[in-house]
Amino acid sequence: MTATATTATTFAALKKDFPILQTQRHGKPLTFLDSAASSQRPTQVLDAMNLAYTTAYANVHRGVYGLAEAATNAYETARLKTARFIGAPDSSEVIFTKNATEALNLVAYSWGRTNLGPGDAIVLTTMEHHANIVPWQMAAAEKGFEIRWIHLGQDGQLDLSTLDRLLDGAKMLSITSMSNVLGTINPLEHLIPAAHAAGALVCVDACQSVPHMPTNVADMGADFVAFSGHKMLGPSGIGVLWGRMELLEAMPPFLGGGGMISNVTIEGFMPDAVPSKFEAGTPPIVEAVGLAAAIDYLEAIGMENIRQHEIELTAYALRKLREELGDNVTIHGPSEPAQRGGVLSIELKDVHAHDVSQILDSHGVAVRPGHHCAKPLMKEMGVNATARASFYLYNDTNDVDTLAAALSDAHSFFAI
């Protein structure tokens, strides 16, 4: 048996772990191809959360009774596990947020408003999700710094021809590791050293890469990394910001409230140490337990194997859709599967993405129509909307075949 066959067999067995993938839509088996928006979760994660709620739940970091200690332990174990999963040197550098959007807002609000002002500049790319654009625009409107843009070049890649000029004098490069529209994997190994050489920090929106490939923030060399739990088999309601300790220590708190202070008087407050300083209020306790269970699940399969599975599936899909639909289909993004994630932005000739998705839904196929919260990118691509199919470890070639057949049906339905 070849390595590939072993991998395929392993992945074929995973579907049964996901109860929702056993359900039907419109009388057809569910073909879930929207994991770039949010993944599904296995029984192991659901059971871990149920167990936490039924046997070990209390608020964390407060009570002295045993149950509160058990809950605190579970929450802090999740932090340790998350830190190990992303190769963080110090688990205190892992901050739990509501989602990746909040994590990016934390950086823009706390670091941005402290360190940026008139005459300063940051660099973003037009490939960013709105979550890595709008928080910076809000801070810029208040503080008067400049936002410079790396634009889209050929084959779904960034145009880096003017990188040195853009980085010159910039204080921050905030960039996605993988486009949620094109699947493009950006060359961080080149961009991060370039930004640092120019004196800029680097914040990475890693929402699309952390769930799908090995991540090591220390090797990556970034200063901040943000991602969400619900895209990596974990529950909604939890995101992660990792940051270098010396930066986090120097930053003011983001949200204020209980849990983030060391002292409060009527004259003012003293913030607690990192990470508590950035975790105001009751945190996502059971969500953290769920995220830890998701990490266990992913690690048991192996992130390298998951990446390999998705490269193979993406290659199969690019081939299959071309065979089935010929010139009637356009798939945006890099043409080489190894340079991209399993995210296919599909345009069907003469059929609007909204209509494509509607017909696909009648086949039980879940894809996402629209601009995918990346309107500046869509504008540069010159398209109004695409239908996005995205893969995860539980998808297989049967799902791609179902997608191809449903797309063919959508095309004949609307053919002029």
Binding site: H352, A353, H354, D355, Q358, I359, S362, P369, G370, H371, K375, M378, N384, A385, F413, F414, I416
Partner: protein
């Protein structure tokens, strides 16, 4: 008839493939309003000219979007061009009722069979109501028309 066939009736596909009154008008004299569907990025631009008697003497629709938003815009243009503002608002109210949308501050009134007949081609869009996410597509051009009329009358 399946829900999908009910959604995409032939008359809808016909308006989508051959939109009526597509294009632009010079502003001024025309009034222009733009509508966006933030969910999917669809855009509708309505241009209209209102005469002193309150008649919509000319109307054009620009923009891009899915079959539902584009066909609805085409049908809307055919239904109100050459008609009075009063008539346009009456059709708007009936159409929104068909889409299960009540007027601001009012109870939802289901259109009567007679009112639906008066909608003509627009009645073909009634299948949309089974697909709640698409109601916004169907009403986008009407909300944009509403804005253009308010502007023209301001």
């Amino acid at each position: 008839m399946s829900d999908i066939e009910d959604l995409y009736r032939e008359i809808i596909l016909d308006h989508y493939r051959s939109p009526r009154n597509a294009g632009e008008l010079e502003t001024p004299p025309a009034t222009k309003a733009e509508g966006f569907n933030p969910l999917c990025g669809d855009e509708i631009v309505v241009y209209l000219i209102l005469d002193d008697a309150g008649i919509i003497t000319d109307l054009k629709v620009g923009g891009q979007g899915c079959s539902i938003s584009q066909s609805s815009a085409s049908m809307m243009s055919a239904a109100v061009k050459g008609k009075t503002v009063e008539h346009a608002r009456e059709v708007m109210k009936t159409f929104k009722g068909l889409m299960s949308i009540a007027e601001t501050g009012a109870e939802l009134t289901e259109p009567t069979p007679d009112e639906i007949r008066k909608l003509g081609d627009l009645a073909a869009l009634r299948g949309v109501v089974k697909f709640p996410t698409r109601i916004k597509c169907a009403t986008l051009s009407w909300n944009t028309l509403d804005e253009a009329l308010n502007e023209a009358q301001a």
